[in-house]
């Protein structure tokens, strides 16, 4: 992206904006994975329990009833780190 932006011939305003947005989003997401690694569970919307088909509440299996899930980015980072540590 930056390489493209650096070549003067391919400079168009929309591309610069798109590039900046992409960078901001990526960094913002990485930052949130670092500072707030957990987000609300999507299955139960953070409640920890769900309504079953029959209508009574039961613990959410997706988040072990905590209501929180690890962000996908953090999950990837953890996996990569574990791989690296295992290879040492």
């Amino acid at each position: 992206m930056t390489i493209l932006a650096a070549t003067p011939s391919a400079l168009s305003p929309s591309m610069i904006v798109a590039g900046m947005v992409l960078v901001t989003v990526t960094f913002g997401y990485a930052l949130s994975c670092w500072l707030a690694p957990f987000a609300r569970c999507r299955r139960c919307a953070g409640a920890g329990t769900r309504k079953s088909l029959l209508g009574h509440r039961k613990p959410c299996r997706s988040c072990d009833a905590t209501g929180w899930r690890l962000r996908a980015g953090r999950r990837i980072a953890n996996t990569l780190r574990d791989l690296r540590d295992a290879s040492r």
Binding site: F38, D64, T66, N78
Partner: protein
């Protein structure tokens, strides 16, 4: 830091006080403190505050040696009610003047540096703003808990994370309020205060703020304000410390009247101002050697490095010696470049500058009439020290130089500028097809020189030659060109005792023995260096000659050795018995070129040799060559003379004894034919000798069949090949 300096000053005043009481200052009431201080300030040692090592000085000292101290120095007892510097108007005035001068100096020192301080402070204050802000943000964000939260996320443990998160949230809220208040204060109150306050308060505020921020911003080891007065901590020796050291080293027992250690003198600074010294009397029956053996323990008792402790024998009694404790390790201070760099003419009849001893005194070596052995581990400065002395001799144009460099190193190559003859190594090279024969011829020439000198000297009238010995005048007399002083340098001489050719080794060994025995008194100075002086293999005659040659050197210089056997080989057994062991010399870069010089004087100085590196040596040798050109004494190899040697081309000689059609000859046949054809050279040549000689120059020894008998011999083809190989090289 400040505290220490206070102690130092306190200590200084204690001493002042004590000494003044002693020399009647108290009785007179008035002492010229200015003069006293001037005296103190004059010496280099007095720029420091001396810090006593002994914590117990005030309570009278722990062990005073049973009252046997011969009043070494004024010993502190009761302190005066009113210190002498505040007693009497004259003293008070002098003291106030002193402190005013001191304060004036400090003020002037810092005033001059003020702009620099300001610049530095501003720079670090900018850094400090970020540091302080960063520190507060970390505090607000509960940074110390961060690693715990991350660990929870790493472990995918939402429970723990939630708990920590909740805890943190309340803390962060509180801290946010505190920080908000702080910012509010800065934003609202500060401008108001600025507007209201008088100018001096503003200045003070800015200075304080900058100082605070600079302090926060600067690295801990970078001080903005430098000290105006240097304080160095020196070991101040007191009699108590000395006694403590000797008793701790087991050299006496304070509780037994017949085992106490006594002082033979008062303790004093030595003349050079680099250490303290005192004469020690050991208990009856303990000897100087005991002290030398326990030097390490004494150093430990004195709480100094062993390199700072020096013991010197006393002529009057074997239980008495001089203890000298240097303020700092004197051997680690290099002696500097050689004074020979001025390239002036020197005289071999005067002492050669060699280095500095442990007290910084010049050590000189008078080369005439002696032989010097220098030994050490490789790369400890052996060649450099030998070369230092050879350079001195080179600067005397009337000294003939003969150099045999057994290791064929570049260190001696430049001596070709002045040397009359030089031998490199033992193996044929481009420069020298047969260095071993060359060596034999050179030594024969030296022997012939000795014989000639003695012949001339015995024929001279008594008024010219009073004691039948060479004199400085004779050695320079143009009418007696044969009476020059000769310097024979033998670098790694042991290799010439270990040649494959035993006959050559044996001849060289006996020549060297002769030169060693007769040479020095005939004006032949021997300068030998070896990294392997312990002896050459076998119990052969050569081995004995080697040992005898080595042990007959008059002066020995041992640099750092690998073990005490090597040290003993260089310095001799007597030196080891005296406690001198070159394997105990300190190791490390600062100690290169440090060694013991033994045999010249009664005390054995630890010498830091002057440095003359390759470039220096070359410069000196070029100058030496000029001196020789001026004096018209350039001769031999240095003068470009092709040495007319009665040398034999052994290969050519061997080739010549092959009759037409013969492809190989047995060694006994070759030896016999050579003896017959060239009797003046090969008259008593043995088969083994010619075999060894040929093998050393590249001719194989192979089986040759002749008359039905197979014996070792040489092929003509091999001899020819060796000749071609040599000529091509």
């Amino acid at each position: 830091m400040k505290h220490e300096r206070d102690d130092g000053e306190h200590e200084l005043f204690d001493r002042l006080e004590r000494e003044m009481t002693q020399d009647g200052g108290a009785a007179a009431g008035v002492t010229d403190l200015d003069a006293e201080r001037a005296r103190r300030r004059s010496g280099p040692a007095d720029q420091h505050f001396e810090v006593s090592l002994d914590d117990d000085e005030d309570d009278g000292g722990p062990e005073r040696g049973g009252g046997l101290v011969v009043e070494p120095v004024a010993v502190a007892g009761r302190r005066e009610v009113i210190p002498s510097e505040w007693r009497g108007w004259a003293n008070i005035r002098a003291t106030v003047r002193y402190w005013l001068a001191y304060a004036g100096h400090v003020a002037a020192f810092h005033a001059v540096r003020l702009p620099w301080y300001a610049a530095q402070a501003l720079f670090w204050a900018v850094v400090g703003v970020f540091r302080v802000a960063g520190r507060q943000i970390r505090w607000w964000w509960v940074a110390e808990q961060h690693s715990l939260r991350q660990a929870a996320a790493d472990a995918n443990d939402p429970g723990t994370w939630l708990k920590l998160h909740k805890e943190t949230r309340s803390t962060r809220m509180w801290r946010f309020i505190v920080l908000g208040g702080e910012v509010l204060l800065l934003v609202l109150v500060l401008p108001v205060a600025w507007a209201v306050a008088p100018w001096w308060a503003r200045v003070a505020g800015v200075v304080a703020a900058v100082a605070f921020l600079a302090r926060a911003g600067r690295p801990a080891d970078r001080r903005i304000v430098s000290a105006a007065v240097v304080t160095a901590r020196l070991r101040r020796l007191s009699p108590d410390i000395v006694l403590r050291a000797y008793y701790a080293a087991g050299l006496g027992n304070p509780d037994r009247a017949d085992k106490v250690v006594q002082f033979g003198s008062t303790m004093q600074r030595d003349a050079s101002g680099t250490g303290s010294q005192v004469v020690i009397d050991l208990p009856y029956g303990r000897t100087f050697d005991d002290a030398v053996k326990n030097r390490g323990a004494i150093a430990s008792g004195l709480d100094v490095s062993v390199n700072q402790v020096f013991l010197t024998r006393d002529a009057t009694s074997h239980r008495r010696h001089l203890l000298w404790v240097a303020d700092r390790d004197p051997l680690a201070i290099p002696a500097g470049k050689t004074p020979l760099l001025d390239c002036k003419r020197r005289s071999i009849w005067k002492a050669a500058p060699f280095g500095l001893d442990e007290r910084g005194r010049a050590v000189e070596l008078s080369l005439m009439w002696i032989s010097v052995l220098i030994g050490a581990q490789p790369r400890k400065g052996k060649t450099f020290s030998a070369r230092l002395l050879a350079l001195y001799a080179a600067l005397d144009p009337f000294v003939r130089l003969f150099i045999a460099d057994g290791k064929s190193s570049p260190d001696w190559r430049k001596f070709a500028l002045v040397a009359e003859d030089m031998v490199y190594g033992t193996h044929p090279t481009r420069d020298d097809a047969d260095p071993v024969t060359h060596m034999r011829l050179m030594l024969r020439a030296v022997k012939a020189h000795i014989l000639r000198v003695n012949e001339i000297l015995s024929g001279l009238p008594v008024d010219l030659c009073p004691e039948g010995k060479l004199t400085a005048e004779l050695a320079r007399d143009p009418k007696c060109p044969d009476l020059r002083v000769v310097l024979l340098v033998l670098e790694e001489f042991q290799v010439y005792y270990e040649l494959d050719d035993k006959d050559a080794s044996s001849e060289i060994a006996s020549l060297l023995s002769y030169i060693m025995a007769v040479g020095p008194s005939s004006g032949v100075v021997l300068l030998s260096a070896s990294q392997k002086p312990s002896g050459v293999g076998g119990a052969s005659n050569i081995g004995q000659l080697f040992t005898r040659f080595r042990d007959n050197h008059a002066a020995r210089f041992a640099l750092k050795c690998g073990n005490r056997n090597v040290s003993e080989a260089i310095l001799g057994g007597d030196a080891y018995a005296e406690g001198i062991d070159a394997s105990t010399l300190p190791t490390g870069k600062p100690y290169l070129g440090v060694g013991y010089l033994y045999g010249l004087t009664d005390d054995t100085p630890t010498v830091r040799t002057y440095l003359a590196d390759h470039a220096d040596a070359e410069k000196i040798l070029i100058a030496a060559r000029k001196h020789r050109e001026t004096a018209g004494t350039l001769a031999g190899m240095a003068a470009g003379e092709v040495t007319v040697r009665e040398t034999r081309d052994v290969l050519a000689d061997v080739a010549s004894v092959f009759a037409a059609g013969e492809t190989g000859l047995q060694w006994p046949v070759i030896a016999a034919r050579l003896a017959e054809a060239i009797p003046e050279h090969y008259a008593d040549l043995s088969a083994d000798a010619i075999s060894a000689q040929c093998r050393s120059i590249g001719v194989r020894s192979v089986n040759v069949k002749s008359g039905g008998e197979v014996l070792k011999g040489a092929k003509l083809a091999d001899v020819r090949a060796a000749i071609e190989g040599r000529d091509a090289a």
